[in-house]
Assembly symmetry: C2
Homo-oligomer: 251 residues x 2
């Protein structure tokens, strides 16, 4: 079976040869499974099991896991295996901060580079987003919501920044899964729409301001008290926190 319709253009200079796309196929499937919450943070990703599921040897699974690990979606512990990442509150703040910085630059460039077709495309994207929200298709919404930001990056036209943002968007999904307070964002579609309008109007300052507010709103909807659940347990019982695998940076 030929691979699922080449959804979108392939990022990098990969030819669409059969072998390589097998790698990509498994990568895409695993990434989707994690971002759509079918694989919860902390889940062990056994090489043997995944190999059986996808009908390949551990060799190719390993490659995929390493790729996901490099994007911080998966965490590899030497001799212990791979696990779905459990971003700490600190990491969450870092990712959102990095996004504010990078997306400010992206918006600035997008305002300059935009064409009418781009604006149309963005509007269509937000329309799909709104639809998925109305029909309650959570999985589609997660994907589309991120796609908006990536589309903006493509308009800006710096592939290096786009690649960074792609990683940040994925990590943001994982962060939202782990730290969303109550309900989902009331309707980020409206915020996206406002951003589009500011860009279309060529109002750079306003577009940047809106994007910053949008990302800040996203962060504000998270439940990021100083420490994560495990550390809280220790603080609650007033014992010195043991050094555990779950703890954040070693330093």
């Amino acid at each position: 079976m030929s691979r699922t319709a080449p959804t979108a253009a392939l990022n990098e200079g990969e030819s669409d040869s059969r072998k390589t796309s097998q790698n990509d196929r498994i990568y895409e499937e695993m990434l989707a499974a994690i971002l759509e919450q079918r694989l919860a943070p902390g889940t062990k990703l056994s090489e043997d099991t995944l190999g059986e599921i996808f009908g390949v040897s551990r060799t190719v699974i390993r490659t995929v896991l390493q790729r996901l690990a490099h994007e911080q979606i998966v965490r590899i512990q030497p001799n212990r295996g791979a696990f779905v990442s459990e971003p700490t509150p600190e990491e969450a703040r870092e990712v959102l901060q990095a996004r504010r910085l990078i997306e400010e630059g992206i918006v600035r460039k997008a305002v300059r580079n935009q064409t009418l077709a781009d604006i149309k495309n963005l509007k269509k994207s937000v329309a799909s987003e709104r639809l998925s929200l109305e029909t309650g298709d959570h999985e589609a919404w997660v994907r589309l919501s991120g796609d908006f930001h990536l589309k903006l990056a493509e308009i800006a036209g710096n592939q290096t920044l786009t690649a960074f943002l792609r990683e940040l968007v994925s990590r943001t999904s994982l962060i939202i899964v782990q730290y969303q307070k109550g309900t989902l964002s009331p309707c980020s579609c409206d915020e996206h729409t406002e951003i589009i309008e500011a860009i279309a109007a060529g109002d750079e300052d306003r577009a940047i301001e809106l994007m910053n507010a949008h990302l800040q709103a996203c962060e504000d909807q998270l439940n990021l008290q100083g420490s994560d659940a495990k550390a809280d347990l220790y603080s609650i019982f007033a014992k010195p926190a043991k050094l555990e695998e779950k703890s954040g940076s070693v330093i």
Copy 2:
């Protein structure tokens, strides 16, 4: 069982086990070889050969090559192998643009987070840099010159941004190798020193301005006409450019 004593601070949650560090060792050596110009852009990186050199099987070499490829230091062509990256002029511009954006944010944070020890540390770093320049130790200079920017990132205190910048710094080295016009930067040490002084003085705007100027100066020293050598050949002979492996993105 408690794990091996956490020797020193390792970046990520990697234990210091022998096996993993073998991987890291080879990675570091190969990265250094590329950045220090002992491996020129375009060089084929044969798995068998590298395996023999480092006394390991292709398996571990493959892992390292994939890691380098993800950092854009190496380019993997399916069924053809790995090559030292040959960044295009467009990529070069993108990388420098991304750096201006990210390092602006880093400088802003560094101004706020700085301690006296940090400033001392930075000054020491620049002193080493100057020394390497005076003694003509080019390899050391390449490394130290990048270290300055990474130290700044660490002061800023966002590990996610630091990781991005680390990749960008490596890529910049590769870009300089390929596109430096005449002599090396007259003395970027002075520019580094000025940046430190602005940061120490808490003058955010000036520090940002100096950093931007510094990175722009770096870009201006490159020979980045619209197209690379190969494309030039075609334009010179006024023939339609054939699509070659060397061309940039496929899309």
